[in-house]
């Protein structure tokens, strides 16, 4: 069945189809529609869940932990400052190995305050021990939302997961989406049963104990192992999903990569524009390909090496910045290649921060630098579509 829904609704429908039992959430632009929609589902009797209208995102994730520890399926949603406010608790959710799923409306961080799209919020949470998926479309948001539960709850994994949808570009944009049947999702996910120790008076357990140096590191190593395991489980779940629903997902997807000399690496909604751009260049005979990263945690190192190892230049386009070094994807992709016998030249392009449009003009500039880099030295970190002159003046350098 086709439905016309906004990106936020894809998360809400994923929760409904997954029969999520508790949703603690706090409104924040651009993800507010998720709790609104859940509230509507419950009010209409279409969803049997407890909605907790908490007083902050910090409490949203804290209540999510409480509910998950009690042994129910839990989903929540937030964005930007909300995710930042949750930060310390994100580590606790993963440290306690609770398979919570969270939708993120990927939005810029203050200051200055800005409600539009970039990936700074989720990228700043990449060390929290959560799995991370980035959707290109509302269909992907819905599908990844459903799959995230299966991956997170797998007894080999037991880690929380976040699914990012670009602010406004996806969260508020209506797209046609193939809506899975409830029965099929039920079959796919199975009835929820916690594969972990829960709060149960019949079997009293202590959750969230204090660990001394003699044990702490083992718990962290356990999370490390779980992330490694997740790589395999994600592949299995993607495959099972494809067999049942016919839509194909990969942690990393390469397109037009055969004989490509230059590869453009993207995440999220900019991939659609990138695909058109690459297709046009291919028509003109340019040897260019596109690589989309869907899973950022666990980092798909092997897949990226495999798809990019033979190109001359990799142009990483990313909507985040770690001031003082460069973008997170660039940093990690560079490290992935560091011990490879041969590697492409890897360039970083900081684009689309705070909702700045990523257009063909952006890609043309990126491609121009990448092409030049085949023969020449170029800057490693490039800011695109920025009024550099005005900034340098403001900083007293011009």
């Amino acid at each position: 069945m086709k439905a016309m829904i906004r990106g936020n609704e894809s998360i809400a429908y994923a929760f409904k189809l997954a029969r999520v039992q508790v949703v603690p959430a706090y409104p924040i632009t651009p993800s507010t529609l998720v709790p609104e929609k859940i509230s509507e589902f419950i009010a209409n009797g279409e969803m049997n869940a407890e909605f907790i209208p908490v007083e902050s995102e910090h409490s949203a994730i804290s209540a999510a932990i409480g509910a998950s520890a009690k042994g129910v399926r839990v989903g929540t949603a937030t964005a930007s400052q909300g995710l930042a406010l949750m930060h310390e608790v994100l580590f606790i959710a993963s440290g306690m190995r609770l398979p919570i799923v969270m939708g993120i409306g990927n939005r810029a961080l203050s200051a200055p305050i800005n409600i539009w799209c970039d990936h700074q919020d989720m990228m700043s949470a990449r060390d929290t021990g959560w799995m991370q998926f980035y959707a290109e479309s509302n269909q992907e948001g819905l599908d990844l939302g459903i799959m995230a539960f299966k991956i997170a709850e797998d007894p080999r994994v037991l880690l929380p997961a976040m699914v990012g949808l670009d602010a406004f570009v996806l969260t508020h944009t209506v797209e046609p989406v193939e809506m899975p049947e409830q029965k099929d999702v039920d079959d796919f996910l199975g009835e929820f049963k916690p594969n972990y120790v829960i709060l149960d008076p019949k079997k009293p357990a202590t959750l969230g104990a204090f660990a001394f140096p003699e044990h702490y590191m083992e718990f962290k190593y356990g999370q490390w192992i779980a992330m490694q395991q997740a790589k395999k489980v994600i592949d299995e779940v993607f495959e099972e999903f494809e067999n049942r629903f016919g839509r194909r997902y990969r942690k990393v997807s390469g397109e037009f990569m055969e004989d490509a000399e230059i590869a453009i690496v993207t995440m999220g909604s900019m991939t659609g524009t990138a695909r058109e751009f690459v297709r046009k260049l291919r028509e003109k005979g340019e040897k260019v390909g596109l690589v989309k990263i869907t899973t950022f945690r666990p980092f798909p190192k092997e897949e990226l090496i495999s798809v990019l190892k033979d190109v001359k230049v990799v142009a990483v386009m990313e909507r985040n910045i770690s001031h003082g070094f460069g973008g997170a994807v660039y940093a990690e992709l560079g490290s992935a290649f560091v011990n490879q016998p041969s590697r492409p030249k890897i360039l970083d392009f900081i684009v689309g921060l705070g909702g700045r449009d990523i257009t063909f003009k952006t890609f043309e500039e990126v491609y121009g630098v990448a092409k030049k880099a085949i023969e020449n030295d170029v800057d490693e970190v490039n800011w695109v579509d920025v009024n550099k002159e005005a900034v340098l003046k403001a900083e007293g350098l011009l």
């Binding site: 120790v197 079997k203 357990a205 104990a209 660990a211």
Partner: protein, 105 residues
Amino acid sequence: MEVITRGGVITEPGNSVENKTGSWRVFKPVINYEKCIRCLICWRYCPEPSILKIDDEETKMNTPAPKEAMKRLPVVKIDYDYCKGCGICYNECPVHAIDFVREER
């Protein structure tokens, strides 16, 4: 329980009993049953808890009491494995039936 559990959960409720906190003790409460009126105030306030309330007939009858009629009441007994020697029982005892003496080891 294995050495390491997933997520650091502890699945043996109350296994703190393996920590014998009696080793902390500097002073030691000693119940003088000839004086103890079995009011249970020490049992009520013991923070460990290391004062046990014993309710079996044999102990009740065989433990001395200031009055024969009191032998119907439960007896208190200090579990020195855990008593840290805070002295609350000694301080709160309404009939001064608990002595507080230096621990000898």
